[in-house]
Protein backbone atom coordinates (compact mmCIF):
# COMPACT_ATOMS: atom_id res chain seq x y z
CA UNK A 1 0.00 0.00 0.00
CA UNK A 2 1.32 3.37 -1.06
CA UNK A 3 2.06 6.00 1.53
CA UNK A 4 -0.17 9.01 0.95
CA UNK A 5 1.26 12.46 0.30
CA UNK A 6 -0.59 13.68 3.33
CA UNK A 7 1.08 11.10 5.53
CA UNK A 8 4.51 11.86 4.10
CA UNK A 9 4.01 15.60 4.55
CA UNK A 10 2.89 14.99 8.11
CA UNK A 11 6.09 13.09 8.83
CA UNK A 12 8.23 15.85 7.38
CA UNK A 13 6.38 18.47 9.36
CA UNK A 14 6.86 16.51 12.60
CA UNK A 15 10.63 16.10 12.26
CA UNK A 16 11.65 19.27 14.12
CA UNK A 17 9.54 18.52 17.17
CA UNK A 18 10.45 14.82 17.13
CA UNK A 19 14.10 15.88 17.22
CA UNK A 20 13.42 18.12 20.19
CA UNK A 21 11.54 15.37 21.99
CA UNK A 22 14.29 12.83 21.35
CA UNK A 23 16.96 15.27 22.42
CA UNK A 24 15.21 16.09 25.65
CA UNK A 25 14.82 12.38 26.43
CA UNK A 26 18.41 11.49 25.64
CA UNK A 27 20.36 14.68 26.24
CA UNK A 28 22.56 14.12 23.24
CA UNK A 29 21.87 15.10 19.66
CA UNK A 30 23.58 12.35 17.64
CA UNK A 31 21.70 9.61 19.48
CA UNK A 32 18.54 11.68 19.35
CA UNK A 33 18.71 11.91 15.57
CA UNK A 34 19.28 8.16 15.31
CA UNK A 35 16.14 7.69 17.32
CA UNK A 36 14.19 10.05 15.07
CA UNK A 37 15.45 8.16 12.02
CA UNK A 38 14.27 4.86 13.48
CA UNK A 39 10.94 6.44 14.37
CA UNK A 40 10.36 7.73 10.83
CA UNK A 41 11.36 4.40 9.30
CA UNK A 42 9.03 2.53 11.60
CA UNK A 43 6.20 4.98 11.00
CA UNK A 44 6.61 4.60 7.25
CA UNK A 45 6.57 0.81 7.44
CA UNK A 46 3.48 0.87 9.64
CA UNK A 47 1.59 3.70 7.97
CA UNK A 48 -1.40 1.42 7.37
CA UNK A 49 -1.93 1.17 11.13
CA UNK A 50 -2.30 4.91 11.47
CA UNK A 51 -5.93 5.98 11.58
CA UNK A 52 -6.40 9.01 9.32
CA UNK A 53 -8.08 11.85 11.09
CA UNK A 54 -6.37 11.12 14.39
CA UNK A 55 -3.32 13.01 15.51
CA UNK A 56 -0.28 11.97 13.55
CA UNK A 57 2.02 13.82 15.88
CA UNK A 58 0.83 11.92 18.97
CA UNK A 59 1.14 8.66 17.04
CA UNK A 60 4.73 9.49 16.07
CA UNK A 61 5.65 10.47 19.63
CA UNK A 62 4.29 7.13 20.82
CA UNK A 63 6.48 5.29 18.32
CA UNK A 64 9.53 7.33 19.30
CA UNK A 65 8.99 6.74 22.97
CA UNK A 66 8.41 2.99 22.53
CA UNK A 67 11.48 2.75 20.36
CA UNK A 68 13.52 4.58 22.97
CA UNK A 69 12.54 2.21 25.76
CA UNK A 70 12.83 -0.88 23.61
CA UNK A 71 16.38 0.10 22.64
CA UNK A 72 17.24 0.55 26.26
CA UNK A 73 15.93 -2.90 27.00
CA UNK A 74 17.71 -4.45 24.04
CA UNK A 75 20.95 -3.10 25.27
CA UNK A 76 20.41 -5.19 28.35
CA UNK A 77 19.67 -2.28 30.58
CA UNK A 78 16.78 -1.80 32.85
CA UNK A 79 14.47 1.02 31.93
CA UNK A 80 15.53 2.77 35.10
CA UNK A 81 19.02 2.99 33.74
CA UNK A 82 17.82 5.41 31.11
CA UNK A 83 18.94 7.91 33.70
CA UNK A 84 22.39 6.41 33.77
CA UNK A 85 22.65 6.59 29.99
CA UNK A 86 21.53 10.18 30.10
CA UNK A 87 24.26 11.06 32.59
CA UNK A 88 26.94 9.39 30.55
CA UNK A 89 25.82 11.22 27.45
CA UNK A 90 25.98 14.51 29.27
CA UNK A 91 29.47 13.80 30.47
CA UNK A 92 30.63 13.25 26.90
CA UNK A 93 28.76 16.00 25.11
CA UNK A 94 27.78 18.85 27.34
CA UNK A 95 26.04 21.82 25.82
CA UNK A 96 26.04 20.59 22.28
CA UNK A 97 23.65 23.18 21.13
CA UNK A 98 25.88 26.05 22.09
CA UNK A 99 23.34 27.94 24.14
CA UNK A 100 24.67 28.20 27.69
CA UNK A 101 21.26 27.67 29.21
CA UNK A 102 20.77 24.38 27.36
CA UNK A 103 23.44 22.66 29.41
CA UNK A 104 21.85 23.74 32.67
CA UNK A 105 18.43 22.55 31.56
CA UNK A 106 19.96 19.28 30.40
CA UNK A 107 21.54 18.74 33.78
CA UNK A 108 18.36 19.70 35.57
CA UNK A 109 16.30 17.26 33.47
CA UNK A 110 18.89 14.63 34.15
CA UNK A 111 18.09 14.81 37.84
CA UNK A 112 14.52 13.69 37.17
CA UNK A 113 13.46 10.06 36.97
CA UNK A 114 12.82 9.10 33.33
CA UNK A 115 9.06 8.79 33.77
CA UNK A 116 8.78 12.28 35.27
CA UNK A 117 11.07 13.73 32.64
CA UNK A 118 9.02 12.45 29.71
CA UNK A 119 5.72 13.46 31.31
CA UNK A 120 6.97 16.98 31.93
CA UNK A 121 8.37 17.36 28.43
CA UNK A 122 5.22 16.08 26.74
CA UNK A 123 2.95 18.40 28.69
CA UNK A 124 5.07 21.48 29.30
CA UNK A 125 7.23 21.57 26.17
CA UNK A 126 5.66 19.44 23.43
CA UNK A 127 2.23 20.91 24.01
CA UNK A 128 0.23 17.75 24.59
CA UNK A 129 -2.75 17.70 26.90
CA UNK A 130 -2.56 15.53 30.00
CA UNK A 131 -4.92 13.11 28.26
CA UNK A 132 -2.73 12.85 25.18
CA UNK A 133 0.41 12.44 27.28
CA UNK A 134 -1.34 9.68 29.22
CA UNK A 135 -2.13 7.89 25.94
CA UNK A 136 1.43 8.25 24.72
CA UNK A 137 2.91 6.90 27.96
CA UNK A 138 0.13 4.33 28.43
CA UNK A 139 -0.68 5.37 31.97
CA UNK A 140 -3.64 6.99 33.68
CA UNK A 141 -4.18 10.74 33.36
CA UNK A 142 -3.79 11.12 37.13
CA UNK A 143 -0.40 9.45 36.93
CA UNK A 144 0.74 11.95 34.30
CA UNK A 145 -0.53 14.86 36.39
CA UNK A 146 1.33 13.71 39.45
CA UNK A 147 4.53 13.04 37.49
CA UNK A 148 4.37 16.49 35.91
CA UNK A 149 3.70 18.08 39.26
CA UNK A 150 6.64 16.37 40.92
CA UNK A 151 8.90 17.11 37.99
CA UNK A 152 7.99 20.81 38.08
CA UNK A 153 8.72 21.02 41.77
CA UNK A 154 12.08 19.38 41.37
CA UNK A 155 13.01 21.65 38.47
CA UNK A 156 11.92 24.69 40.43
CA UNK A 157 14.28 23.69 43.23
CA UNK A 158 17.16 22.83 40.98
CA UNK A 159 16.82 25.85 38.75
CA UNK A 160 16.19 28.16 41.65
CA UNK A 161 12.87 29.43 40.33
CA UNK A 162 10.71 30.85 43.09
CA UNK A 163 7.32 32.48 43.42
CA UNK A 164 8.66 36.00 43.34
CA UNK A 165 9.65 35.62 39.73
CA UNK A 166 6.35 37.01 38.55
CA UNK A 167 7.59 37.70 35.06
CA UNK A 168 10.70 35.56 35.30
CA UNK A 169 14.14 36.88 36.15
CA UNK A 170 16.27 38.02 33.28
CA UNK A 171 17.91 35.08 31.52
CA UNK A 172 21.48 35.84 32.60
CA UNK A 173 20.59 36.06 36.27
CA UNK A 174 18.46 32.98 35.97
CA UNK A 175 21.26 31.02 34.37
CA UNK A 176 23.66 32.11 37.11
CA UNK A 177 21.23 30.99 39.78
CA UNK A 178 20.72 27.65 38.08
CA UNK A 179 24.45 27.26 37.75
CA UNK A 180 24.93 27.84 41.47
CA UNK A 181 22.13 25.46 42.35
CA UNK A 182 23.58 22.75 40.19
CA UNK A 183 27.16 23.01 41.24
CA UNK A 184 27.11 23.70 44.92
Amino acid sequence: MQVSDEFRDGLIEAIPSLRAFAFSLIGRSDRADDLVQETLTKAWANHHSFTPGTKLRAWLYTILRNEFYSQMRKKGREVEDVDGAYSRNLAVHPEQHGHADMGDMNRALNLLPADQREALILVAASGFSYEEAADICEVAVGTIKSRVNRARKRLAEVLGVDGEAEYGPDPAAEAAIAHTALHK
Binding site: V3, W44, H97, N106, A124, R152, A156, G163, G168
Partner: protein, 74 residues
Protein backbone atom coordinates in the same frame (compact mmCIF):
# COMPACT_ATOMS: atom_id res chain seq x y z
CA UNK B 1 -9.07 21.43 31.83
CA UNK B 2 -5.84 22.40 30.17
CA UNK B 3 -6.57 23.56 26.69
CA UNK B 4 -4.11 22.36 24.16
CA UNK B 5 -2.83 24.97 21.78
CA UNK B 6 0.22 24.37 19.77
CA UNK B 7 1.75 24.91 16.40
CA UNK B 8 3.68 22.62 14.15
CA UNK B 9 7.00 23.20 15.89
CA UNK B 10 5.59 21.99 19.15
CA UNK B 11 5.31 25.38 20.72
CA UNK B 12 2.55 25.71 23.16
CA UNK B 13 0.75 28.39 24.98
CA UNK B 14 0.36 27.10 28.47
CA UNK B 15 -3.19 27.35 29.55
CA UNK B 16 -4.09 27.18 33.20
CA UNK B 17 -3.18 23.83 34.66
CA UNK B 18 -5.49 21.35 36.20
CA UNK B 19 -2.98 21.13 39.05
CA UNK B 20 -4.16 24.51 40.16
CA UNK B 21 -7.59 23.20 40.99
CA UNK B 22 -8.85 22.77 44.50
CA UNK B 23 -7.55 19.87 46.54
CA UNK B 24 -3.99 20.40 45.44
CA UNK B 25 -2.75 22.88 47.97
CA UNK B 26 0.84 21.90 47.39
CA UNK B 27 0.83 22.78 43.74
CA UNK B 28 3.46 25.18 42.62
CA UNK B 29 2.77 28.83 42.48
CA UNK B 30 1.44 29.76 39.08
CA UNK B 31 4.30 32.14 38.36
CA UNK B 32 6.78 29.36 39.12
CA UNK B 33 4.94 27.03 36.79
CA UNK B 34 5.00 29.51 33.98
CA UNK B 35 8.65 30.37 34.56
CA UNK B 36 9.58 26.70 34.34
CA UNK B 37 7.31 26.22 31.35
CA UNK B 38 8.94 29.12 29.55
CA UNK B 39 12.43 27.78 30.17
CA UNK B 40 11.49 24.29 29.09
CA UNK B 41 9.93 25.55 25.89
CA UNK B 42 12.98 27.69 25.17
CA UNK B 43 15.16 24.60 25.59
CA UNK B 44 12.88 22.47 23.45
CA UNK B 45 12.35 25.07 20.76
CA UNK B 46 16.07 25.64 20.44
CA UNK B 47 16.33 22.14 19.01
CA UNK B 48 13.02 22.28 17.15
CA UNK B 49 14.11 25.45 15.33
CA UNK B 50 17.31 23.94 14.00
CA UNK B 51 17.45 23.23 10.30
CA UNK B 52 16.40 19.65 9.63
CA UNK B 53 19.59 17.65 8.95
CA UNK B 54 20.06 16.33 5.42
CA UNK B 55 19.97 12.75 6.64
CA UNK B 56 16.20 13.05 7.07
CA UNK B 57 15.62 14.39 3.58
CA UNK B 58 17.67 11.46 2.29
CA UNK B 59 15.77 9.02 4.44
CA UNK B 60 12.39 10.16 3.15
CA UNK B 61 13.66 9.91 -0.41
CA UNK B 62 14.87 6.38 0.20
CA UNK B 63 11.61 5.32 1.77
CA UNK B 64 9.66 6.71 -1.14
CA UNK B 65 11.89 5.00 -3.66
CA UNK B 66 11.56 1.72 -1.87
CA UNK B 67 7.81 2.15 -1.90
CA UNK B 68 7.49 2.86 -5.59
CA UNK B 69 10.10 0.24 -6.47
CA UNK B 70 7.91 -2.68 -5.46
CA UNK B 71 7.91 -5.06 -2.55
CA UNK B 72 10.99 -4.15 -0.62
CA UNK B 73 10.46 -6.04 2.54
CA UNK B 74 12.98 -6.73 5.23
Amino acid sequence: MPKETRDSTGKMNVASDADQSAGRPRSLDKSVQSAIGARLRAYYDEVAREAVPDRFVELLKQLEQKDSGGEGRD
